[in-house]
Symmetry: D2
Subunit: 341 residues, 4 copies
């Protein structure tokens, strides 16, 4: 593919599932960018889609991308344990960075990486894609348009279609850091407020193996926000009917809430009543468009030199909330965020 | 009105708003009963509807009803502070009792009253009418029909259209006893389980006067149930759009949830989108039919000599939950119900 | 029951199902009326509910009611073939009249009866109860509030839960007069316009016995309105899922439409999708409140001396539309209403 | 772009809006195809997207594509009046053909073109994309799965967000051929049945200029199907709230129906009631995915040598229905399809 004039040139690190999603959007749908190169220890496994997308420069060594002289920005889509190191390396090489969340499961590593990126003066966006989802963005807009008035309550429901294997659970960082992190971000996003304190409830109801792995699979977390509102998140590792992703915000002027996206609007009415379809099952299908829109926002920020919509601190703050939730669950009390900072 | 053969003969104590609701249902819609007499210090104010219903025997002294030799059962619809005493008197007089909730704001008075009723061997039903609401009863039925599977989570949302005056708030017993008591009962009803522990969050967001009166107007309570499930109740003293009454239950086989009742099913679509009507505003309109069905259930229990669907203990247990919620709010920790018993 | 001062005194002719509905509303729920007496050749069969409602004056001879000196108005709830005669007798006796539809299956008898009533100067309301239904009234209000703008299209869907027996079909006057008459009235009601011409399609798809009885069980009728709009009605004698009653109006400013009333708002989501309840099955349940409201409107018109909301001509005009529809079906062409007048 | 092994090689004729839609899908999303070349007299205007898609072989002369020795199949996306000629030329050149509808406004030209294609033995698919829409395909599937039982009624509603200019209307072939053709196809698709007779109603309610151009802008057409069912289509050239595309099918086992696709599932509830978003406005947005799926179906048919899901006759039959509808409107009578064949 010929180099496009004025294009922002991107290198993608990690050619697994999420690397593919981003590369495909960048090549086919985002205007004004080109994907120069990719790197992955197992880049050979991605031959088919790299061919399909016409990406010919391929490395097994991420350093080749991180230090590539024709790369303006990198997408860090590798395994979680490598994010922080690549973020640091990229920042030091003066590359702008789109980094998948979480930055790391260790808060000190995250703080250090953010510090390096800040000092390097590069643009950094964290991959909280749900902020760009049509439904949640519409709720945010309703709040901005004052349709809800002063915020009194935020409710987030998040249920996965299937639990992860217990082996994964063991290294996941626990349900709050691994799964609820998105919902904690959603509370911060919708409210535009930080959180003061947290209280958590949890149980093992889905899979006893998750309990044996030292985690829970069902949780409810209440959050006291600095703006005075109360938020409550409920999550489950398994909903038999599919991926359940809803929010409700309530305030002095009214309420805004979302329903799940369905494959079709059909309703069939028979002797058993009226039936609608199940929610979309797979997160890549459900959030497909949000990945595109977040990349467009990143590219726009790069092009205009503005602050991207999800910054480094947005990768750090929800970690404190998750840590406070874990502490609350263990100590059966309200935990101030200041206790875990 | 001529005495009907085999009718259950009822005396109504209290001819205010809720007394009228019950009397009207008993006279016009419940089969096999007759209202023999009523009593209220201000019975004169009820002349119009007593005439309308053809109830001619009227007293200012409740004792006249409680000891009436033609009365089989009494409806205690007077002010809250008199419920426990009338309950005791009725029980001692051998009358069956339908008692509006709360029995009293003081748990010791409630326990004593229930003890007396028990020893007297009379039938006692407590007025948790929402259990008989078409929507909530349908959720209960879905649970019984195993449509939800093992219960993992119960969510109850309850928002009033308008806050009470601060003067009322001062003597109300607080939001948990005064307002959330219905929702605490709903959790017990839907789950069929007692509660082990409670955690509460609260804020004054609706009306500062409520705060000055020593109460909150917005609350979220999380409950650990003995059957392992988690419940979360969110309430507000004011929703500008009307009376918001919804539940959601989630479990291993799926989810069941309700929407608010609307005045009509009309949807108007124009340049601003599609608009549906607001929920019904007034609780007597919203729960109109539930009052009838609860009376029918009471009468059925009397006629068949069976246990009524809402018994004395159902008037006591939610009080402990409310007390634990209040304690949790003050002490910022999870409170075991055993701590407040 | 003591005579109420200033009450409008009503006599009910016909103590079958619809007579009971009206009598019960008049006794229990409509303000400012009393039911003085009833008449029916089989009045003995109604003893139970007449006792329940406290109606003691009972006749087998309708003339006793029609000429009763304490009766201000009569409700004609007898069998269809007697409506016109009783209407004439009542008018001649100077009684105001609420008459169930149809007035008669013979248009000449209807015209004559209306003429008599007009000359007698009595108030006459025809029982098109659906106009008073909460959903359809809301659509009418939306039109009056200009939410729809200039009317372009009206769509009415009407499906019964079960077909009538073929024996009934034979004497019913045919599907247009017997069943669609309500929907033809709905078009006139919503549009506020008369109809110029009609085109009909029909088939026997539900029950071959209906075909053998010379009728159809499925029909679509298109109507050209004098105000320029087009209306289309589709009906079926049988919907397995219950009583299906919906309208949609469309115009220059938008669309308003209704859904069926459901027994409860519950939605159960499982591996098969999300299920809501079937529509209400029985017309007396579905339209219960509309019967009350139409009686309240009749009484209000009597009390205030105003024109009632459904007048004599409203009983006649839809008959012409039904007759034109039948002619159109036979002649496979558009039929002007003027052809059948 | 390198030639892919085993790819089906496609030439696209017409690089306007719909040509772009198909080319983009073929290049980016359909597996196993490549776009070899394009032709359009104004191909220069498409430079930007042709560059974007990496399509380098570009002609002004369609013959270059039609006779290209590396082209297996052509997409005819040019202006309507050229479809039939290109179809004939492509068939004679032995190319498989995907042809946008309508094939032509003149039925004789269409018949001739189909004859040529048939004799040439090439595969021909007509661009009735709505058959591949997620909602309508779900209704078709519900019918195939016997959820509806024997079909009794099909209802199609189709309203455009804005009327075309009167200048276009003059050469459009009229509302039945130009706009309702999709809905007529939908009836054939859903029913799997041909149509016996048609009756039409119409009016000029949206724009008097359309009337002056000799056309109508609002229409209702009733269709008698050979399988006994009745269908009714209502269309309008303008719905202020957007693109309104719904169907309902009703039968012996129940009903299936669709709602419009909305941009988001958000519902905002305030003092004015609950508001949902308007339907998607633009047909390319609304039917975006259907264009992809129809191309995938075409490619699958080519690869497997099977009959494509929309064949030549599907391009011809709805024309007869449209012609019969026009005749019915003029003659105010039911028109048999045999009259216009």
């Amino acid at each position: 593919m010929a180099e496009k004039k004025d294009s922002i040139r991107i290198g993608v690190i990690g050619t697994g599932r999420i690397g593919y999603v981003h590369a495909k959007n960048l090549v086919q749908r985002v205007q004004g960018v080109e994907v120069v190169c990719v790197a992955d220890p197992y880049v050979d496994r991605a031959t088919e889609w790299l061919d399909e997308l016409g990406i010919t420069e391929r490395y097994t060594d991420p350093a080749k991308v991180l230090n590539h002289d024709k790369v303006d920005a990198v997408y860090i889509c590798s395994s979680t344990d490598t994010h922080a190191d690549f973020l640091v390396d990229a920042a030091k090489a003066g590359k702008h960075i789109f980094c998948e969340k979480p930055i790391d499961l260790d808060v000190e590593k995250v703080k250090n990486a953010l510090e390096v990126a800040k000092n390097a003066g590069v643009t950094l966006q964290i991959g909280f894609n749900r902020r760009f989802d049509h439904n949640f963005a519409a709720v945010k807009q309703a709040i901005l348009d004052n349709k809800v008035g002063d915020l009194h309550m935020i409710k987030v429901t998040s249920r996965d279609p299937e639990p992860p294997p217990a082996e994964y659970v063991k290294v996941s960082g626990g349900i709050f850091l691994d799964m609820m992190i998105h919902d904690l971000d959603m509370v911060r996003f919708l409210s535009g407020s930080e959180v003061k304190a947290v209280s958590a409830a949890g149980a093992v109801l889905v899979d006893p193996e998750i309990g044996k792995a030292g985690d829970i699979d069902t949780a409810v977390v209440t959050l006291w926000l600095e703006n005075g509102a109360i938020a409550v998140i409920d999550i489950s590792r398994k909903a038999v009917y599919g991926y359940d992703q809803r929010v409700e915000v309530f305030g002095s002027a009214g309420m805004a809430r979302t329903e799940n996206d369905l494959p079709a609007t059909i309703e069939i009415t028979g002797v058993e009543g009226s039936r609608k379809e199940k929610p979309l099952w797979f997160f890549l299908e459900r959030y497909n468009e949000s990945f595109l829109i977040e990349s467009e926002a990143f590219v726009k920020a790069l092009r205009e030199g503005t602050t991207p919509p999800v910054v480094g601190i947005d990768g750090l703050e929800p970690m404190y909330l998750a840590m406070a939730a874990k502490k609350s669950l263990e100590e059966k009390r309200v935990v101030e965020i200041s206790e875990v900072r």
